[in-house]
Symmetry: C2
Subunit: 359 residues, 2 copies
């Protein structure tokens, strides 16, 4: 693909905060955006030149959307394979259908990673109770049973300490599952990688992710790990993006395990999109993950990922965003709100970046 | 006015790059924007939740616009007085009608400044040729004859070296004029001030403005002036905003004159809006002028104006924006394009910020 000139139209599937922040970054570079989302009044619609309200399996609406844009991207990994194929037949789709297929299925993802030489927790596919014993033999107990598809924020998974618990969880989850060995990790970190359609890869400094109620609560950059560990995590992110022939921003969640031998890394999960743990880049790096995602899918050179200081990103979940007045009373607090009409428990309403600069 | 909660609607008169950048900043804080502009396909429309295409004297459209928003601001100082009055009767208008009235008329502006104790060049109103001799007695020659209203980027003005030239220029400009003494300034600087509806004033570090073809070409921050001069320019900006009871961002263009006594300041012009010479703040300060304008008119506390380093802002005028590919090949170049469909000579198409951080 040749580079898209300013004035080109970026098509975005999904109208939530990630699509909104991609659209805001695209506008700054002179692109127009067209957002496609089934929900009327989606936050991203309100910052985009055009929008389409239609279902993700509406072939006619998808075709018209593709005809109206110059490149297609998305804010969520559960884009149906048929949707991706329909769009990719008409316009460049980044990240591509293969990246989607691999990251939509925990078995495909872990198999891909293992074949790429990346360490992951022991795992086994489990579709029926009859397969449980063999799976437990691979993973040991306790383990985590997860749905292969559509899990997020701790949904669609259960920690199981016995075969009986595993069988109960399998019946409850009610679809193809994966049993994963429990990793005794010291902390979780993220590598936010960007790889351009025009070539070139960049990776932001590694941050630590802290969760509350199974939802990302804070990302702290730099992560409190050894320099060699941070470098290894960055290299791991780049290697995975290269191995996938990936285009766009890729979020790589990594467990850091500490034992007698020091720190080692196991990849937990890939997200083929801009990632919550990269929101710190909006205020804490020269180029945000959103702008770099746009540059990557437009075939532009990537922007600098240099970090400005020590950064803390705090998610504002549910009622937390109602405290906006107290937050902005601190002139250095960088508030980002997503334009969601209603705060519900567990709903990401915004985030807050704090940057402490050196010197 | 009490503070506007997120989800409130910011009404913006004018759909060019300034309105667009205000809208982008407002979206980040969770506000919706409604842009009003006579030109269809205005750049700001494409990043706003709603827009109205109507003339600035369309009372019906203006009333409907006011009803649909929570506060009104604008991107240009030539908002007609009747328009301002109509809007201000329905919703808070920031900056207010008085700030508009003063800054729309060079005589009113200079009179206001002089009464506020601010130094300005000698000036006199000139409506007819009969008034020229008295005016020249005030200003000396050479001098600059300018239209009292609607001048910008060197348009509507002429340098005159004699009474004959002044008479010719007066006949050509064809409306009420002002004759201003020529100031032998060493450089022009800007104070970008923001004053909140909720109280509080902040002023960014002083930048030097360099012009080409009477259009701003570059702003360099910090300006190469003595520390005491920079401090005096900041104080001047704050004093003017306070004296006006101003709300929003105010651009203050200041001449720095160097003579045996050192550096002294004369105010050239006020702009009651976000200002081109403040575009460096998007990448070079904690809070951009656009976000601080939104915070000010929404009654929020102001954000930090701390600068990140040495910043150069370069305007991309006419064909210059066609070089975008060469520009972004430098990963540290911060490109901003305005989404204008057509590059015309003298048209501002975008700008480029470069920040050199200390250390």
């Amino acid at each position: 693909m040749s580079a898209l000139p300013p004035g080109s139209v970026i098509g975005i599937l999904g109208g939530g905060q990630l699509g909104r922040m991609i659209a805001l970054a695209a506008a700054r570079l002179g692109f127009d955006c067209h957002v496609y989302c089934p929900e009327p009044d989606s936050p991203a619609f309100r910052v985009a030149a055009r929008h389409t309200v239609a279902a993700y399996d509406d072939a006619e609406a998808l075709a018209a959307f593709a005809e109206a844009v110059d490149v297609v991207t998305y804010e969520f990994e559960n884009v149906p394979a048929e949707t991706a194929a329909l769009l990719a037949a008409r316009r460049p789709l980044f990240p591509d259908a293969r990246a989607l297929a691999i990251t939509q299925d925990r078995i495909a993802e872990k198999t891909f990673l293992r074949e790429a030489g990346v360490d992951v927790a022991p795992f086994a596919a489990v579709d029926t109770e009859a397969e449980l014993d063999a799976a437990i033999a691979v993973t040991g107990l306790p383990a985590i049973l997860k749905t292969r598809r559509f899990g997020y924020d701790g949904k669609g998974q259960a920690k199981v300490a016995s075969r009986v618990e595993a069988a109960e969880a399998l019946a409850r989850l009610g679809q193809g599952c994966i049993l994963e060995g429990l990793v005794p990790f010291a902390l979780e970190v993220s590598a936010i990688v960007v790889r351009g359609a025009a070539g070139g890869t960049a990776v932001y400094d590694i941050g630590e992710n802290r969760h509350a109620n199974h939802i990302l609560d804070e990302t702290i950059v730099p992560a409190p790990v050894a320099a060699a560990t941070a470098a290894a995590a960055r290299d791991l992110g780049v290697a995975i993006a290269d191995h996938l022939g990936y285009v766009g921003v890729l979020g790589v969640e990594i467990f850091v395990v500490r034992d007698g031998a020091g720190e080692r890394l196991l990849v937990n999960e890939l997200a083929p999109r801009v990632h919550n743990s990269g929101h710190w880049t909006e205020d804490g790096a020269v180029t945000s993950q959103f702008e770099n995602h746009v540059r990557a899918i437009a075939g532009w050179p990537l922007g600098s990922v240099t970090r400005h200081g020590t950064v803390t990103m705090k998610n504002l979940i549910g009622d937390a965003a109602a405290d906006y007045a107290a937050i902005v009373a601190d002139p250095d607090a960088r508030l980002h709100l997503y334009g969601k009409r209603e705060a519900r428990p567990g709903r990401k309403m915004g985030h807050l970046n704090r940057v402490v600069r050196p010197g």
